[in-house]
C-alpha cells in the first residue's frame, strides 16, 4: 500500500503545513535582525542575547521549571498510585465511577478547573504563589499520568507480583522491586507528559498564581498584549526546542518499552 499518489502527497503537505507553518515562521523571525516582526532584515541571534539579559523572563522561566518539576513529580506519584489501585483493586462497587472520576479532569474545561481551584485556595485562605500553582498543575497532570500508567498496568502479568509475594517479599517490596522497575517506562513517560503540560499551561496557572510567581506562558501572554517583540519569538523557539526534545525522548522510551514488553511476553509461555 506504499504507492505514491498526488492525492496523498498533497494532503500530507497540506496537513503538515497547517501544523508547522506557523511555528516555522516563528522560528525564522526569531533570527530576524529587525525589531519589526514582519520585516526581514537579515540573520541575527541578537534577540537570544537580549533574552538572556532580560531578568524578568529569566525569573519567569525559573518559576516555570520549578513548578513543572515539582508538580510533575507529585503528579507522577499520585497518578501511579491511583492507577495501581484502580487496576489492581479488582471489582468493587462503584469502581467504574471512580475510574471515570479520575479521567474527568481530562475533559473539564481548564477555565472551570482554574476557577474552582482559585475558589478553593481563597476559601481555605492559602496565599497564592508558586505553591498553589504546583498544586493546581498536580491536580490536572495527575490524571494524565494515571491514564498512561494504568494502560500499562492492565497488561502487566499479576503472576509476577504473586511470585514476589510467594518468595517472601512484602506487598510494598513486591511493588518496589518488581512492579515499578517493569512499569518504569510508562511512569517516566507519564512524568514527561506532566512536565510538558505544566510547562505550557496558561489558563490554570493564571487563575492560581500570585505575586512573584509569574510563569513563562503568563509572561509571554502579557508581553504579547503590548505587541509582539522578536524576543518573544526567540523565547518561543527555545520552548519549542525543549518540548520537541522532551517528546522525542518520551517516544523513544515508550518504543523501547514496547519492544521489551513484547519480548518478555513472548518469553512467557502461552497457557494452553
Amino acid at each position: 500500500m506504499r504507492r505514491f499518489s498526488w492525492f496523498n502527497a498533497t494532503s500530507l503537505t497540506l496537513g503538515f503545513a497547517f501544523l508547522y507553518l506557523p511555528m516555522i515562521i516563528l522560528v525564522v523571525y526569531s533570527f530576524n535582525d529587525s525589531r519589526l516582526v514582519t520585516v526581514w532584515a537579515g540573520f541575527s541571534t541578537k534577540w537570544y542575547g537580549e533574552l538572556v539579559r532580560n531578568e524578568e523572563f529569566l525569573d519567569a522561566a525559573w518559576v516555570t521549571v520549578r513548578v513543572a518539576f515539582f508538580s510533575s513529580c507529585l503528579a507522577t506519584v499520585l497518578g501511579t498510585m491511583a492507577a495501581y489501585v484502580l487496576v489492581r483493586a479488582g471489582r468493587f462497587r462503584g469502581r467504574t465511577l471512580f475510574s471515570g472520576m479520575i479521567y474527568a479532569p481530562l475533559v473539564m474545561p481548564e477555565v472551570i478547573t482554574g476557577l474552582s481551584l482559585l475558589l478553593l485556595f481563597i476559601g481555605i485562605g492559602l496565599d497564592r504563589g508558586v505553591f498553589t500553582v504546583v498544586l493546581a498543575h498536580t491536580t490536572f497532570a495527575m490524571c494524565y499520568v494515571s491514564v498512561v500508567v494504568s494502560s500499562r498496568l492492565t497488561t502487566f502479568d499479576t503472576a509476577l507480583e504473586e511470585a514476589a509475594l510467594d518468595l517472601g517479599a512484602s506487598q510494598f517490596d513486591s511493588f518496589r522491586l518488581v512492579t515499578l522497575p517493569i512499569i518504569a517506562p510508562a511512569v517516566i513517560s507519564g512524568w514527561l507528559l506532566a512536565f510538558t503540560l505544566s510547562l505550557d499551561d496558561l489558563v490554570i496557572a493564571s487563575f492560581t498564581t500570585g505575586p512573584g510567581a509569574t510563569t513563562l506562558p503568563i509572561k509571554v501572554f502579557s508581553a504579547v498584549r503590548l505587541g509582539v517583540s522578536p524576543e518573544i519569538n526567540a523565547l518561543s523557539t527555545i520552548m519549542i526546542g525543549i518540548v520537541t526534545v522532551g517528546v522525542i525522548i518520551a517516544s523513544l522510551i515508550s518504543k523501547r518499552a514496547a519492544v521489551a514488553q513484547a519480548r518478555d511476553e513472548q518469553a512467557a509461555p502461552r497457557t494452553t
Binding site: 518468595l167 517493569i182 519480548r263 518469553a267
Partner: protein, 461 residues
C-alpha cells in the same frame, strides 16, 4: 519412588501428614470452587491434582500458596492452620504456570530474590544460588536475562527460584504445559530426580493425566470441586472407583449393562448363599433357588395366595416377564458352551457377576465384580490393552465377534476399533511386534476380541 521399602506413608497409620485439608470450602460468589474437601498429603510425596479445567485444582493450589483464603474449613501445614497466613509468611513456594520470571533481573538475581528477602548474609545467599544453578544445570546462564534463554531453561530457572528457599512444600502449576513433548518427558524425569534429591514435598497441578501418572506418588482426580479418587497411579488406572475416573484416565471401553450374580461352579456351598443374601432385590426367578434356610424369601400362605390371585389378573404380564427375563440366558449360553468345548474353562474364577450389556450379545463375565451389585445397572470399564484381538476364535472367558472398522497406528501399538454385531464399538490394542506390512489384521476383517474374566473393572452406574 520405590526404594528398598515401598514409599507409602498414606498406608501407615503412624505417619503424620504435612498438609491437611479439613472440610475446606471455597466459594466465589455463588460459585462453589471447592466443596467441603478433606485431604492429607504426606512429607516427601509427589502429589498430583488432576482434573479438567474448572474442577478446582488451581483454586486448591492457590489456597496452599496463600493467594486465596478458604471460605470455610482449615488447612494445616505441620499441624498449624495456615488458611489465613499471607503468602509471604508461609514456608511454601510456587512455580507458576507462566514461570513469572522477573524480566528485569538476571537468572542469578531471579534465584536470589527469595533469599534476599530473608536477610541472610551475602555469602550464604551466593552459596545457595550456586547450588541451585548446579542442581538445575544453569550455571552457564547465570548472567543472562530471562528473554535470552530458551523455554526449557526458563522452566528450570523458575524451578530453581522456587526451590532456593528450601520450602517445606513446593507447588507446581502446570509446570510443563509450555514445553514440547520431547522436552516435557525429559523434564518430568528431571523433576522426579530433583524431588528425590531435595526431599521436598511437591504438589503438582495438571490436566495432563500422563504427566500426573509419570511423576506422582499419588494422584487426586478432581471434578467440580470434589476429589473423586485419591490413590497411586496404578490404582487409579487399574482400579478406578467410578466411571468418571475410568473415563478421565486413559482410554477405556465402557460396557453398560445389568449385573447378574454368578453362582460359583466350583464352590456351590457358600458362594451362592452369600450372593443371594447380598442381593435382596434379586430377580424373581432366582427366588426358588434360595436355600431353605433363608427365611426372608419364603413366601407364606397369604403371599402365595396373593401371588396366585394377582397372577390370574395380571397373568399376561407376569407370563411375559419370566419369558423376557431368561432371554439372555440362552444368549449367554453359547459362551460357556464355547469355552468348555475346546477345553474346559479352568481359567474362569468362580463368583463375581455377569453383565447383560447388549441385546444379542453374550453376557460378559466379570469374576471380580461385587455380587451385591446383582440386578443393578453397572458399567464394565475395560482398558483397550487388556482386550486381545485375533482372527481365529480364541479360548477365553469372554469372546465377542466383530469387524474391524478403524485402525489407529501409533508406531509401537495399534488400536483397533471393532464393531460388534449389535453395532457397539470396542477398542482393542495390540503391540506391533511385527512390521506393519506383515500385520495380519486389516480393515473390514472379521475378528474375535477376547478378555479375561478379571480384565475389566465393574463400576456402579
Amino acid at each position: 519412588m520405590v526404594n528398598e521399602t515401598r514409599f507409602a506413608p498414606w498406608d501407615d497409620p503412624e505417619a503424620r501428614p504435612l498438609i491437611q485439608f479439613r472440610g475446606v470450602t471455597k466459594r466465589f460468589g455463588d460459585f462453589t470452587a471447592i466443596d467441603d474437601l478433606t485431604l492429607d498429603i504426606y512429607p516427601r510425596e509427589f502429589f498430583a491434582l488432576l482434573g479438567p479445567s474448572g474442577c478446582g485444582k488451581t483454586t486448591m493450589m492457590r489456597m496452599l500458596a496463600g493467594f486465596e483464603e478458604p471460605t470455610a474449613g482449615e488447612i494445616l501445614l505441620d499441624g498449624r492452620d495456615i488458611a489465613h497466613v499471607p503468602p509471604n509468611r508461609r514456608p511454601v513456594n510456587m512455580m507458576f504456570q507462566s514461570y513469572a520470571l522477573f524480566p528485569h533481573l538476571s537468572v542469578w538475581d531471579n534465584i536470589a530474590f527469595g533469599l534476599r528477602r530473608e536477610s541472610r548474609d551475602k555469602a550464604a545467599i551466593e552459596a545457595r544460588v550456586e547450588e541451585m544453578l548446579r542442581l538445575t544445570r544453569l550455571t552457564k546462564f547465570a548472567r543472562r536475562k530471562p528473554h535470552q534463554i530458551s523455554g526449557g531453561q526458563r522452566q528450570r530457572v523458575a524451578l530453581a527460584r522456587s526451590l532456593a528457599k528450601a520450602p517445606k512444600l513446593l507447588l507446581l502449576d502446570e509446570p510443563l504445559g509450555a514445553l514440547d513433548r520431547k522436552l516435557r518427558e525429559e523434564t518430568q524425569f528431571e523433576l522426579m530426580d530433583i524431588q528425590e534429591k531435595t526431599g521436598t514435598t511437591f504438589v503438582i497441578v495438571t490436566h495432563d493425566q500422563e504427566e500426573a501418572m509419570t511423576v506422582a506418588s499419588r494422584v487426586a482426580v478432581m471434578d467440580e470441586g470434589r476429589i473423586v479418587q485419591v490413590a497411586t497411579p496404578e490404582v487409579i488406572y487399574e482400579a478406578p472407583n467410578s466411571v468418571y475416573v475410568a473415563d478421565f484416565i486413559g482410554d477405556v471401553n465402557l460396557l453398560r449393562g445389568t449385573a447378574r450374580a454368578r453362582p460359583a461352579e466350583t464352590a456351590p456351598e457358600d458362594q451362592p448363599q452369600e450372593t443371594q443374601q447380598a442381593a435382596p432385590d434379586a430377580m424373581p426367578e432366582q427366588v426358588p433357588a434360595t436355600k431353605p434356610g433363608d427365611r426372608r424369601y419364603q413366601p407364606n400362605a397369604l403371599g402365595m395366595r396373593l401371588h396366585n390371585t394377582l397372577a390370574r389378573v395380571f397373568g399376561a404380564w407376569i407370563e411375559d416377564e419370566p419369558k423376557r427375563l431368561p432371554a439372555p440366558e440362552p444368549a449367554a449360553a453359547p459362551k460357556p458352551k464355547a469355552a468348555p468345548a475346546p477345553a474346559p474353562a479352568p481359567d474362569i474364577p468362580p463368583g463375581g457377576i455377569e453383565i447383560d450389556w447388549a441385546q444379542g450379545q453374550p453376557a460378559v463375565i466379570a469374576a471380580n465384580g461385587e455380587p451385591a451389585l446383582d440386578g443393578k445397572p453397572v458399567v464394565l470399564a475395560l482398558r483397550p490393552e487388556k482386550v486381545s484381538i485375533a482372527k481365529d476364535r480364541p479360548v477365553a472367558p469372554n469372546v465377542l465377534g466383530g469387524k474391524v472398522i478403524d485402525i489407529g497406528y501409533l508406531g509401537n501399538i495399534s488400536t483397533y476399533h471393532v464393531q460388534l454385531s449389535d453395532g457397539s464399538m470396542v477398542k482393542a490394542q495390540a503391540t506391533n511386534t511385527r512390521r506393519i506390512a506383515r500385520r495380519d489384521i486389516t480393515w473390514e476383517d472379521e475378528v474375535w476380541i477376547s478378555f479375561s474374566a478379571t480384565a475389566g473393572v465393574v463400576l456402579a452406574e
